[in-house]
Assembly symmetry: C2
Homo-oligomer: 229 residues x 2
DNA sequence: CTTCCTCATTTTGTATGCAATCGTGGCTTC
DNA sequence: GAAGCCACGATTGCATACAAAATGAGGAAG
């Protein structure tokens, strides 16, 4: 175990990394709409980098599935295909079930308390009807569970898939019933984790994701107009 | 379903894709050893491309986890970390369990027969002690199951993880007992698939991967010397 | 003999230049 | 009037140029 460094971590990240992260954020939060073209000249001007690191970022985001490369015709933000979102959520369900299982065994009490306090925050946001705040803590909880599984590959794979789904989330308006149900489910998940109930958390997380799948899918079917290029 | 195209598919792939694939193959089959530096000048000469597409390939392979980018010091083939391999196999186990489940529902009889004939080929290779041939058909079977799950995201995620593990495979020599056991397990998996036994195939695939994990891990512990940089 | 410094060489990170490709508008032709 | 063709501008793909950083050899100081 290395000692935490008290000194200021001067970080000069490569431009292509910076560009990749910036673009990813723009895509995930919807500032760059699905289907929209990524004009190199425009983006170099906006990001203040040259075409080389920008194009490197395109390649990375393409392997992440966030953009699509059209040979000789540049890059576009990949469309949000409901079928693909459904498939992604199915995979995430399997991953979360495993993560929950592992976390039951690996998570420390302190880590569980961390999740508990995030849960409280989430409940507060739910109570006051703050959807954005709710999503934020909801995401945080799921990411913590995955993280505290202690399986780094699992965590990275999950985050990866999550980026693609989050975009859909921004356009999917939760129904009040589904929202209430999701909150209840989260309560049960937390209980199972706290009591280290491996079998139960598996089932709960798998079901939770299955419900999320149905919900997101329903919303996407209801309003697919926005994603037309 | 689109009709198969009889016309010659003129393919002019971008250089960066070609470079990515070539490099990936070299890394996966071990021609580029873990820890070895990827000298740009050398590789541009060998591949016959300029630095731009080559560096783009580096970035892609880095997101795939096959290479590691050291700022200002270039790229190296990422090390094969036994702990990481174990984590990867755990994730693959969860994915295969899901894939088997889905394939039980989605695979056509023709597709199952495809897998059956691959299984026969695998048995033949096992019988004559051809380890390389065995691995080839073994891989093919697992990939087919994942493919016939009908979940493209699952399939891609799986292939992705698989690339990282295959490298370890090349250095892990199977014991005869484990080999025999694996062949038996495959037989059971095929049976479960053919009889569409969802619950059984889940368990079988999860166990099969768990065994694979133990085996590969044991081999890596036995001979970790080769991966020293 | 070791250690540290300096400087040349190599290698990477980024920007830019050039050629090929694509899309578009206008023109011709029927 | 519609369809096809051509030429032009815009954009991409790849190569190369230039600058910053790292590596390594050699020598001076201790």
């Amino acid at each position: 175990m290395t000692a935490p460094q008290p000194v200021a971590p001067i970080l000069r990240r490569p431009l292509h990394e910076e560009a990749t992260d910036r673009l990813r954020d723009l895509i995930v939060q919807g500032s760059l709409a699905p289907g929209s073209r990524l004009n190199e000249r425009l983006l170099t001007a906006q990001l203040g980098v040259s075409r080389t690191p920008l194009r490197e970022a395109f390649k990375v985001l393409a392997t992440e599935g966030l953009v699509e490369l059209l040979p000789n015709r540049g890059a576009i933000v990949s469309a949000i295909d409901p079928a693909r979102v459904a498939e992604t959520l199915a995979v995430m369900g399997a991953l979360e079930a495993l993560a929950g299982e592992l976390a039951c065994a690996a998570a420390t009490e302190g880590q569980i308390n961390e999740i508990r306090s995030l849960h409280q925050e989430m409940l507060a946001n739910h109570a006051r009807g703050d959807l954005a705040g709710y999503f934020k803590f909801n995401q945080a909880i799921h990411l913590k569970i995955v993280k505290y599984s202690g399986n780094a590959v699992l965590a990275q794979t999950y985050r990866h898939l999550n980026a693609n789904v989050r975009r859909a989330r921004y356009m999917a308006n939760l129904s009040q019933e589904r929202w209430d149900a999701a909150v209840r489910e989260h309560g049960e998940i937390l209980e199972a984790l706290a009591s280290r109930d491996v079998a139960r958390i598996r089932v709960l997380l798998a079901e939770h994701l299955a419900h999320k799948l149905a919900s997101v899918l329903g919303e996407l079917r209801a309003a697919p107009a926005r994603e037309a290029a």
